[in-house]
């Protein structure tokens, strides 16, 4: 167990070292979220009617959830690259904890997700977002967002090990996550959607997570319950982490 922790730390560190050296990745984590906030707030914002509060208050929790769900794509890219380049073989020939390779990868995502979430919140505060709840609720919201991001890292880990190339991982991830976030309450209220899409949006886990985050940070009433949000996080984690581990064993054992 101590071995797992220390090895996970080493692998996490390895995955983070590359960040400042890969400008395109750093841009993805910093400037891109800012761009999205500004586009939504000032291009679509005027045309979208939201219940209570301003669009900036409505938007920030939604865009944070979308962004954090995407954060895991680095895990998909990284794992796929490591498989192709033989680094996984190097790891497997070392007397290290096997789980540390995946755990280190997904743990690094927590750090990068934390980074982009901070940038998003700061941008939000500048354009008119504000926390309107008790500190405890704000913190609980941060925990919800980060654990949701962590669970999604395992979805991407599975994906990255499944597909043949980093490019494929990227496009499959995009195709899966984009519709899920857009057909949810992340950017527009569900009531504005055509009926079939609204029905989908109502049961979409993204809607539930976003609604709860909105409630925790701005006090907007939510039709769902907080436990449902955490239940989804747990569900995603419990389904995809064993899948990823199994896939890792099989893919590496060739």
């Amino acid at each position: 167990m101590r071995r797992l922790l220390s090895d996970t730390l080493v692998v996490t560190e390895r995955n983070l070292i590359r960040l400042p050296r890969a400008p395109e990745l750093l841009l993805a984590f910093t400037l891109q979220p800012i761009m999205f906030v500004l586009l939504f707030r000032y291009v679509f914002g005027g045309a979208i009617r939201v219940p209570g509060g301003s669009y900036a208050e409505y938007l920030i929790p939604g865009i944070i959830v979308q962004n954090i769900a995407f954060g895991g794509f680095v895990t998909a890219l990284g794992l796929n690259e490591d498989m192709q380049k033989g680094i996984i073989d190097r790891f497997r020939s070392l007397p290290m904890s096997r789980a540390a390779v995946l755990a280190g990868r997904t743990s690094a995502d927590i750090v990068t997700n934390g980074l982009s979430m901070t940038i998003l919140i700061v941008t939000g505060l500048i354009i008119g977002f504000s926390f309107q709840t008790a500190v405890l609720h704000v913190l609980l919201g941060l925990v919800l967002a980060l654990t949701f991001g962590y669970a999604f890292s395992w979805v991407f880990a599975f994906l990255g090990l499944l597909v043949k190339s980093p490019e494929a991982a990227n496009s499959v991830g995009f195709l899966a996550v984009f519709p899920l976030t857009f057909i949810s309450s992340a950017f527009v209220p569900g009531q504005s959607l055509p009926t079939p899409l609204r029905q989908f949006s109502d049961v979409n886990p993204f809607t539930i997570i976003v609604n709860e985050l909105r409630w925790l940070w701005t006090g907007q009433p939510s039709p769902d319950q907080l436990w449902q949000a955490f239940a989804w996080v747990a569900f995603i984690l419990l389904v995809f982490s064993p899948l990823a581990v199994r896939r890792y064993r099989r893919a590496a054992g060739r």
Binding site: S6, I17, G86, R90, R92, L94, P95, A252, G253, R254
Partner: protein
């Protein structure tokens, strides 16, 4: 591999190893492995004595890499057993991983990390503390002439530098047994020679090496013993000299003035050998029964047939001849000078 006239009876590189070494650094018995319907290995037996090099030769897809992956715990065999450094490769994987080093053909180092960061990471994954891992990393960088590049990301390295770093990473824990899977594939001649020097030095210091390669000159230079593997089985095993002797004695090589006479030349030489002469362009090659008088007889026969000779020489068979005779096809098609 020039066709220089042979020096016969050169020093045998095998030394005085007995056939069975109870203290073999690597020992495999009946190793089999299938992937779906493909039988990659069919009952491989292998022994490598301590502080020697075994060269594993074979065409692409013969099973070399599969065998290496089994012996380094990356794969589990379907049948058979093997031990490396006295440790079972299936039942005691974690202990074994502390005692082996693996350097592969894909230079498995992280491009985004510097040379030093790569070695430090590997050291820490072997269980060293950070400071100790770093110190060992510096030591290796010095040994492999990478000090100046220590602080640069690996993506700026040349192919030769990457291979050296890859090998250095395999040596972090000073393993007694080293597996090198095609360590010089794709390297320029200069870098190959450098890497060979490093490997020879390690062996002289007591490291046991299992080396897979497609380059027969590499095997000839480095290996104490050679195992030829084809279609998942070891089809020949011995010192390079033993294998060459097995193919037969001296080879006669005749370069003709006119390539169009090759068939006639082969015809003229047929009586000198038990085999059919091989032709390729203006070159006719044939194994001869005895050394003495072979050249004179060949010249006389060719002269009588009215065939002009540019050059004629006797030489020992090379590992290329061995490989061709054993597997029915040449070793590496590309890069063979």
């Amino acid at each position: 591999m020039g066709a220089v006239s042979a020096t016969i009876g050169g020093p045998s590189s095998g030394g005085s190893e007995t056939t069975v070494s109870p203290e073999a650094a690597i020992s495999a018995r009946g190793i089999s492995k299938s992937f779906g319907d493909v039988r990659a290995l069919r009952g491989v037996d292998l022994d490598v004595a301590q502080a020697t090099v075994l060269g594993l030769l074979g065409p692409n897809g013969a099973g070399k890499t599969t065998l290496v992956r089994i012996l380094t715990t990356l794969l589990t065999p379907d049948a058979g057993s093997a031990s490396v450094a006295g440790i079972d490769v299936v039942s005691d994987q974690n202990r074994l991983r502390e005692r082996i080093g693996l350097a592969g053909q894909y230079a498995a180092v992280d491009e985004n990390l510097t040379g030093l960061e790569n070695l430090t990471m590997v050291g820490r994954l072997y269980g060293f503390r950070r400071a100790a891992a770093k110190a060992r990393g510096r030591e290796l960088l010095e040994q492999f002439d990478l000090v100046e590049a220590a602080g640069r990301p690996v993506k700026t390295y040349s192919g030769g530098m990457r291979r050296r770093l890859d090998l250095a990473a395999a040596l972090v824990a000073k393993p007694p047994v080293l597996f090198l899977d095609e360590p010089t594939t794709g390297l320029d001649p200069r870098s190959r020679l450098d890497l060979w020097d490093v490997i020879e030095k390690l062996v002289s210091e007591g490291t046991t090496v299992l080396l897979t390669t497609q380059y027969l000159d590499e095997a000839d230079r480095l290996a104490d013993r050679i195992a030829v593997i084809d279609h998942g089985s070891v089809i020949a095993e011995g010192t390079p000299d033993e294998l060459k002797d097995r193919v037969g004695g001296e080879r006669l090589e005749v370069h003709l003035e006119d390539a169009s006479q090759a068939a006639a030349a082969a015809q003229a030489l047929v009586g000198m050998s038990d085999e059919l002469p091989a032709q390729s362009g203006a070159l006719v090659r044939v194994g001869v029964r005895g050394r003495s008088g072979a050249i004179i007889e060949a010249v006389r026969r060719l002269d009588a047939a009215g065939i002009g000779v540019d050059d004629i020489a006797l030489r020992r068979p090379t590992l290329d001849d061995v490989f061709l005779a054993l597997t029915g096809h040449a070793a590496a098609s590309e890069d063979q000078a």
